[in-house]
């Protein structure tokens, strides 16, 4: 299976790089007690709720967990679409 890094760079990654990439993801889920499925459903519902209030550009939306040292932060970058001026 091609890893994320491989798909990104088109290069074959070493097994150590694969281990590091897999570990960094699994540690996020271990530390936050949030499974990949639950994270996905969190993202979907977040977008749903926000869309109730403003128009958002779902293609540019980024919601992810960032790691800084041993701390995890949920970062959401959600571009808003300017409403068409009503005539």
């Amino acid at each position: 299976m091609a890893s994320f890094l491989e798909r990104l760079t088109g290069k074959k990654t070493s097994s150590a790089d694969q281990a590091k990439e897999r570990l960094s993801l699994v540690l996020i889920h271990d530390r936050t007690d949030l499974s990949p499925e639950n994270l996905q459903s969190l993202k979907d519902r977040l977008i749903e709720v926000i869309s109730d209030y403003v128009k958002i550009d779902t293609r540019q939306t980024e919601i992810e967990i960032k790691t800084d040292g041993r701390e995890q932060t949920l970062i959401a970058n959600i571009p808003l679409i300017r409403p068409r001026s009503r005539g």
Binding site: S14, A16, K20, L23, D30, R31, R70
Partner: protein
């Protein structure tokens, strides 16, 4: 005197806690400090054989805690290094024979006589682990540069934090620099980046560890092997010295060794 309690623990078993405890005990005592190593792995006694003291056990940790002997009677004195002692684990009892507060009381007694109290913790996250970290002033987490050991180390580091004994310091054991070079083993930098705690030592994979364990003579007794020197460096770092990192290239050919001797490195 007020000795320091250092607990050596890990998430995964078999990563080198007992080896690390024995060698740090030897290394610190060789520097002239008074050291007692406590085997807190009740029911799975091991530190005695790694230290080569298995034939001299009379009393154990549980005897001392339950008052069947004085604490000093449970301390086996090493014959090679006068300032090194061992309190062995009980072999025929279970972990619940000792409580965290028993360990705190015992260590407070030992602090008066010793510079260092090193506790070899059982693996895992249960009672034995809690016993081992309850009295700790400092916690060392041992891991191997391998995916499941690192993952389990992360769990333990979190628990040490939760018990307010953190931040733990990291010992990376059994690193094979040739595999790291090939890209087939996580490097020390990778592991430190993932676990995000301070590093106190890197110990290479070294056959001398197994040979010396066979003989009950911890590698740190002699400064010849790379692993022995690594453990001696960790001991100095525990004492607050700023020790440069060893070159762990295990292809330790005659030229490398000569180079090191000439440049006085290591």
């Amino acid at each position: 005197m007020s000795g320091k309690v250092v607990t050596i623990t890990s998430g995964k078993g078999g990563v080198g806690k007992t080896t690390t405890t024995a060698n740090l005990g030897v290394a610190l005592a060789s520097l002239g400090d008074k050291v007692v190593c406590i085997d807190s792995d009740i029911g799975l006694r091991n530190l005695d054989v790694v230290l080569g003291l298995e034939n001299r056990i009379v009393y154990d940790l549980v005897d001392a805690v339950e008052g069947r002997c004085r604490v000093s009677q449970a301390m086996i004195r090493d014959k090679r290094i006068e300032t090194l002692y061992l309190i062995p684990a009980a072999q025929t009892r279970d972990k619940n024979a000792v409580s965290p507060s028993d360990m705190i009381k015992l260590c407070n007694t030992l602090r008066e006589e010793m510079d260092w109290i090193l506790i070899d913790s059982p693996a895992g996250i249960e009672r034995g682990f809690r016993n081992a970290i309850a009295p700790a002033d400092e916690v060392l987490v041992v891991t191997n540069p391998e995916i499941s050991a690192v993952r389990d180390a992360d769990r333990i580091i979190g628990l040490v934090e939760a018990e307010e004994r953190g931040p733990a310091k990291l010992v990376i054991n059994r690193l094979k620099s040739s595999m790291v070079k090939r890209g087939d083993m996580l490097s020390a930098e990778d592991v430190v980046e993932l676990l995000a705690i301070p590093l106190i030592g890197i110990v290479p994979e070294d056959e001398n560890v197994i040979v010396s364990t066979n003989q009950g003579q911890p590698v740190a007794l002699e400064a010849k092997s790379l692993a022995g020197r690594s453990f001696n460096n960790i001991a100095k770092r525990l004492k607050g010295e700023d020790v440069p990192w060893l070159d762990l290239n295990e292809k330790d050919g005659i030229f490398n060794r000569l180079g090191r001797i000439i440049s006085g490195g290591g």
